[in-house]
């Protein structure tokens, strides 16, 4: 197995997803199979090959720093799960 259960748990923590034992175990098997498939890329010599991050040639796009209309505050806040007035409520960050 290219992966261990501890590693699955570690990645889940990095990705901020809680996972039950059953979930983690089933992920371990599935992710391992997929990672084994990726091994085939090792056959290819890519030493001098540049990377492709994007398929188009569009580079950094700039725009004028001009003020324009955007969404109304109330509209934007309408999707907030928990709010108090115009504030978004979150639980304590610090212990």
């Amino acid at each position: 197995m290219p992966l261990t259960l501890e590693e699955v748990r570690h990645i889940a923590t990095l990705a901020r997803i809680r996972m039950s034992d059953t979930e983690a175990e089933s992920m371990l098997g599935q992710l391992s199979t997929i990672l084994q498939q990726f091994e085939e890329l090792k056959q290819l010599d890519t030493k001098d090959i540049p990377v492709t991050a994007h398929s188009s040639d569009v580079d950094t796009v700039m725009r004028d720093d001009k003020v324009s209309n955007s969404c109304k505050k109330e509209q934007l806040l309408s999707n907030v799960p928990d709010r108090e007035g115009d504030f978004i409520k979150v639980k304590a960050v610090l212990e």
């Binding site: 992966l3 590693e7 699955v8 990645i11 889940a12 990095l14 990705a15 901020r16 997803i17 809680r18 996972m19 979930e23 992920m27 599935q30 992710l31 199979t33 997929i34 990672l35 498939q37 990726f38 085939e40 890329l41 090792k42 290819l44 890519t46 090959i49 540049p50 990377v51 492709t52 991050a53 994007h54 398929s55 188009s56 569009v58 950094t60 796009v61 725009r63 969404c71 509209q75 934007l76 309408s78 999707n79 907030v80 799960p81 928990d82 978004i88 979150v90 639980k91 304590a92 960050v93 212990e95």
Partner: protein, 518 residues
């Protein structure tokens, strides 16, 4: 009440629309046209509307009736927006009467549920966004509204567009109109099934690794993924930003050209949008493909492909040859690596894009833990389905310290190799022809337990996203009562040559006219 019911706004009938809808006329044409609406194309509807043989309100009501009749079986819609549709149809009729209509004015359609619609839920078929109501329209939505399009509702999909069967929808799987035991493909299974079943005249989907072309193939419709950057992705819920592209699902190639003409074009709101001339794609439908150089890449005809599908594709190639095209063998040696490249790059980008779902600003919030971090982890555990979690974890792993070079960087380099070999083949050929999918539609549940097996459905469509090139899937045969799709690929911005070849093939065949009985 199931989750899907919450969004299920049943067609309201014609209450309030008495002035626009002449009941007697509606009843007469309904009986006459109902059988035809299932096969009605965008250009067919355009003719009827322009000749005043039908109004947009009548056409829209007919589509809503059809949805009410068959969507219980197909589950192609997540949300039906009857009231909005009829309002838009009334406005479209006014516009048509004043002579200001364009290609799509008054024609009812469906948008995949990852395309933002202001004031209308956009769920991505996920529990995470079940109650999310966008505060703005995607550029594609706005462009279609500007054309006077009528929105029937939002199309079901694999959650966050991750999947090849629409079984990953958090609400309900979509079923294939040709055979309800079969999947419609995915992730744009709702759009493909709604067009195939005659619930919408056309639909808009998104394609990250084949999510327009593969379901189009499995449902017997035309699905077009344009060049990366041709259609603005502003307002498309991001999955894998270097691969995502929006495109049309239609009943024929003429419709595909019409819809693409409406949605393509530069958008300053999408920093990857191409600033290229915007042609009228319908002008490329000349019917003439004499001397067109067609390459058939041998790597797409390998073990694992259904021999009957392969036979249909070869027969289709002979048809193209008989129309004057010059056919010879092509080679794309790195094709088999596309799967690994795709399943490193797409999940990596997804893990970053989906980090925004934190239950704070919008979307699902578990709100069951004492502190913020626990709440965040719980929100994401409960809000995401298994495939989405699998891909987030895969991406987080590929990007994590110690593995970045071996996976993500390596995949980006092999991506270059795949891109380069397409570039080199497109010096020799105008288009490449391949099967869209290695098989026809498979049974629901057949591949859900084995992710890798599911991923193999997209082996012929992923390379186009990796290289950023355009590709279409058109109906090209029937095997065991299920449709076969032919894929036509071209170099970046080669949309016109693709449409020309696809249209010529369509003129010479009848496959696109066969509709499922549902």
């Amino acid at each position: 009440m199931s989750m899907v019911d919450r969004h299920w706004i049943l067609p309201v009938g014609v209450i309030g629309f008495e002035e626009s809808l002449n009941f007697q006329h509606y009843k007469e044409i309904r009986d006459m046209v109902l059988s035809d609406i299932i096969a009605l194309t965008v250009h067919g509807a355009r003719d009827l509307l322009d000749r005043r043989e039908i109004s947009s309100v009548e056409l829209t009501q007919m589509a809503l009736d059809r949805i009410q009749d068959v969507d219980i079986k197909t589950k192609a819609f997540v949300t039906v927006t009857s009231q909005e549709a009829l309002n838009q149809a009334v406005a479209a009729d006014v516009r048509i009467a004043s002579g200001k209509g364009s290609f799509l004015t008054g024609i009812p359609m469906q948008l995949k549920d990852n395309i933002c619609t202001k004031g209308i839920p956009t769920t991505c078929s996920s529990k995470m966004l079940e109650n999310f109501i966008p505060t703005y329209d995607a550029t594609v939505t706005r462009k279609l509204y500007d054309e006077g399009a009528v929105l029937l509702g939002k199309g079901n999909m694999d959650e966050f567009a991750m999947g090849s069967s629409t079984e990953n929808s958090a609400f309900s799987p979509t079923r294939n109109p040709w055979n309800l035991d079969k999947v419609p493909g995915g992730s744009s299974g709702g759009p493909a099934a709604s067009v195939s079943a005659g619930e919408s005249i056309y639909a808009i989907g998104s394609d990250t690794g084949g999510s327009i072309r593969q379901p189009a193939s499995l449902c017997g419709v035309v699905g077009f993924k344009p060049t990366y950057g041709l259609v603005s992705r502003y307002g498309l819920v991001a999955f894998a930003s270097s691969l995502d592209q929006i495109g049309p699902l239609t009943k024929d190639v003429t419709d595909s050209a019409m819809v693409l003409s409406a949605i393509a074009g530069y958008d300053p709101l999408d920093s990857t949008s191409l600033n290229s001339p915007k042609p009228d794609y319908t002008k490329s439908l000349t019917g003439d493909i004499k001397g067109i150089r067609i390459g058939v890449p041998k790597e797409y005809f390998v073990e694992g492909i259904d021999p009957d599908v392969e036979k249909e594709i070869h027969r289709s190639i002979e048809i193209l040859e008989s129309l004057g095209a010059i056919v010879s063998e092509a080679s794309l040696p790195h094709t088999s690596y596309a799967l690994s490249v795709y399943y490193i790059i797409a999940p990596s980008e997804a893990s970053a894009n989906l980090a925004r779902y934190d239950g704070v600003k919008y979307g699902y919030a578990a709100n069951s833990e004492a502190n913020m971090w626990d709440d965040l982890e719980r929100t994401r555990q409960e809000g995401f389905g298994p495939e989405v979690k699998r891909r987030i974890l895969l991406g987080a792993y590929a990007l994590s310290a110690g593995y970045y070079d071996a996976y993500y960087l390596k995949a980006q380099k092999v991506r270059t190799l795949i891109r380069q070999e397409f570039e080199s083949e497109f010096k020799k050929f105008d288009v490449l022809i391949t099967p869209t999918s290695p098989s026809v539609a498979f049974n629901l549940g057949e591949k859900t337990t084995d992710p890798l097996k599911m991923y193999l459905n997209d082996i012929f469509t992923m390379p186009a996203n990796i290289a950023g090139i355009p590709g279409i899937s058109i109906p090209a045969g029937i095997v065991n009562g299920l449709p076969v799709g032919l894929q036509i690929l071209a170099k970046p911005l080669g949309e016109e040559i693709i449409l020309r070849v696809a249209h010529a093939f369509e003129q010479a065949t009848e496959w696109h006219k066969i509709r499922p009985e549902i």
